[in-house]
Amino acid sequence: MKKDVDELILYPREWVDETSSRVHEVVHRWAQKEIIEDRLAYTHHYETQFDEKRKSLSLTIGLQKLTLPEEYGGGGWNTMQHVPGVVTIVSEIARADAAIGVISAMTYSIFGLIASERNRKDALTKALAPMFCGNNLATPSVMLPGAGMTGEDTPLFMGRALPVSIEPAAGGYRLMGGAMRPLACGHMADLYCVACTDKDGESCVAFVPAEAEGIIKGPAVKTTGLNACRNATISFDGVRIPEEYVLRDPNMLATLHIWINLYLGAVSVGSSLNFFEILRDWAESRTIKGGTPMKENPLCASVLADVAEEIALSRLLLYNMAHVFVHSERFGAVEDKGMFTFAQMIGSRIQKSALLAINRGMELMGSAGYAKEWHVEKHWRDVKTIQSALCGVGAGVPVKMDIARFFFDCKEV
């Protein structure tokens, strides 16, 4: 009998608590039944079915509120020891559908940032809780700093441009600037989580409900992948938000990068796990050279091995990232900057590995890799979209500069 991927692509189960394992099983059933086994139908009615599938996961099963504190109506998984479990769950969601995975990842990242025991922002969490703990789907959109425009002198976060700024306004703040491209869901978001600066150029993170006045939303952009997470360019023209909606601690933006690298890593690993399953079926059933099963051809087998290796190692690294984050004290000296660096380093490696695995595996699938029917091309487009947006402008050079700063104490790169 064919083995389950979890028996092959190993991860340290000791780090995942039992409650998480039970939720994982529920999500696994959802993934299998509602999406994976229904994929041919899902291919052709993707856009319309998307909300329905999300609802069953987020509202019926209740995962949307999972990481909010119990006292605000959440699932109570706002402790750090649940983090590896959430990683497992996000992977499982993305195994079915990367777009739902990305929305989950952004949700959990935001509440990781503001509601986790390590750094609770109670007023903000309380204010946002109804949106995520109610009976409607809530879509967040995370806006990280990125490339600036030539000729503009923009405040920077680790070299990346922060074109949105805040200034105090009666009882809160006013946001200005933008033409920023979110990671995803810019066009359909209910809540924006925005990297910005104060007037001293210090980085902050601001939360902006979509109904606030002054949000300028560009047209929905057509994108390679994550087509259900309709994106758009977003600007702010004097948008007002309450005081507690801004996190002014300059570590917050770095911490947001950690959370998002972790959970988007989980998405791409999950997507590549499903790719592994599809490829395995293909390699077993397809024959080449007039009769040999593809998997028994040594060259094909070596490509299969490369695929498995990339996925297995990136899954291992993903859990290591979670583990270092949760137990940084046991890892020697991971202060904030170190953790930020490790998250960027492992996060970008995971994205690269997941995409490499799919790219290589597609080599064996010929046109089946390319036809919508097989679903492989969707994983490929989705993961690529995540990778490009997350690992950032300049072929990952900003991440490399982060790494060089940490390990070699560079000052000016």
């Binding site: 425009m149 030539t150 979110p182 080449i288 790219n359 036809a371």
Partner: protein, 424 residues
């Protein structure tokens, strides 16, 4: 460097007509393709937007006549000493705009190459088929119906399998061939193709090259059925579908040549197809350079243009450098083909020519896949945007890497040549 035309050119190889060909096609691409190509993904089924572009290129500008000899109303390129180099230049210019268009256009010639390139000419058949190409004001599409459901890349693996796995049968009944079988995925199927070149076997299971037959089948012949096109990740201009042949009857002289010769004439297509594939890729990469140049000049890191940041410069420099290199190799691959009639050249069906050209195709494919991927990363949050055009090429060129037997077959044929492997 200020313009894509400054990428390396081996001047000594250039044909006298190249400059003219490129100018005409550059103008056509900029007029017909560039303004519309972002919408082509949605046009994959109907080709409403694509049709006028094809008509202009193929019938209006007359490019679909190119390969036929003048006596058939064509331009005579099929017999030119510059055949491969001209094909390279044409394919590159079109590929710059849209590799899907480039392949749909290029493949239209693919079946008739078996009868138009000396020494394997069949003028009777050429004259019969020429009006379809030369006597029309609409684009005419033809297809090579090669791949079969069970076979995958087997049909392209001629050297090893010699047609042994082909299940589409051709039986001579009086002065007609009767064809039965099921083909899938040909470029220009899914309803567009009006003429099919069909590799068949006259003796199922045989690996004797004499039992391989290449037969022309007009699409409207009774018994031919086409499916509607598949939905794919990209390459909307290239429709692909199933073709079923049920007791399809065509005249006996619709066979390209005859026992043995069909096999070798068909085998010529491999290298031609590979050289065109290389050109599609270098064309797409030239466009990559144009788009990337704009991005890295207008976007910043640390408030400096990306291209002025040494680490980014190294990455984009490598991309541009690869384009230069791939182009040198592309021209060399074309030249290897065009040396076929020179005293120091090899036949295009020789193991040496096939191995070398496959090797270059494999290499250029890998560079293209990697460089487009990197370019999307450079664009970061904009990498996935339709508006930057790079993502479209990224989706399209992956299929160029995969087609014609894919990467692994390329690797095997190259290895076989370089190391005299016997059992691969």
């Amino acid at each position: 460097m200020n313009h894509i035309d400054e990428f390396c050119v081996p001047h000594e190889y250039i044909s006298p007509m190249e400059k003219h060909l490129r100018r005409v096609l550059r103008n056509w691409v900029d007029t017909y393709v560039m303004p519309n190509r972002r919408l082509y993904d949605e046009d994959w089924k109907d080709h409403h937007l694509l049709e006028p572009a094809f008509d202009r290129l193929m019938a209006g500008l007359g490019f679909q006549k190119a390969m036929f000899p003048p006596e058939c109303g064509g331009w005579g390129l099929g017999k030119s000493d510059y055949l491969f180099r001209a094909a390279y230049a044409i394919s590159e210019e079109i590929g710059r705009g849209d590799t899907g268009i480039a392949v749909a256009f290029g493949v239209t010639f693919w079946p008739i190459f078996t009868i138009l390139i000396d020494p394997y000419e069949n003028m009777r058949l050429a004259k019969e088929l020429a009006p379809l190409y030369c006597n029309t004001d609409k684009a005419f599409f033809a297809a090579n119906a090669m791949t079969e459901p069970q076979g995958g890349a087997d049909i392209e693996n001629m050297e090893l399998l010699k047609g042994k796995t082909i299940r589409t049968t051709a039986r001579l009944d009086g002065d007609e061939w009767v064809i039965n079988g099921h083909k899938l995925w040909p470029t220009n199927s899914g309803g567009t193709g009006k003429l099919f070149g069909v590799p068949c076997t006259t003796k199922p299971g045989s690996d004797d090259p004499n039992d391989f037959a290449f037969i022309f089948v007009p699409a409207e012949t009774p018994g031919v059925t086409q499916s509607s096109p598949y939905e794919k990740a990209g390459m909307a201009a290239d429709k692909n579908g199933d073709i079923w042949f049920e007791d399809v009857r065509v005249p006996s002289w619709y066979r390209a040549h005859g026992p043995g010769t069909d096999f070798i004439a068909f085998y010529q297509l491999i290298s031609l197809g590979q050289v065109a594939s290389i050109a599609f890729l270098t064309g797409a990469m030239m466009n990559l350079y144009e788009r990337l140049y704009e991005f890295v000049s207008t976007r910043t890191y640390r408030n400096k243009p990306l291209k002025e940041h040494d680490a980014v410069a190294a990455v984009i420099g490598r991309i541009a450098g690869d384009i230069d290199i791939c182009r040198i190799l592309g021209y060399e691959a074309a030249m290897i083909g065009d040396r076929r009639r020179m005293p120091y050249g090899d036949p295009i069906t020789s193991e040496r020519t096939v191995g070398r050209i496959r090797n270059i195709k494999d290499f250029v494919s890998d560079r293209a896949v990697e460089n487009f991927g990197t370019a999307m990363d450079i664009l970061g949050a904009y990498g996935a945007d339709r508006d930057w055009d790079i993502e479209k090429h990224w989706r399209d060129i992956k299929i160029v890497q995969l087609w014609m037997g894919g990467k692994q077959l390329c690797q095997m044929e190259a290895a076989r040549y370089y190391f005299n492997c016997k059992t691969l």
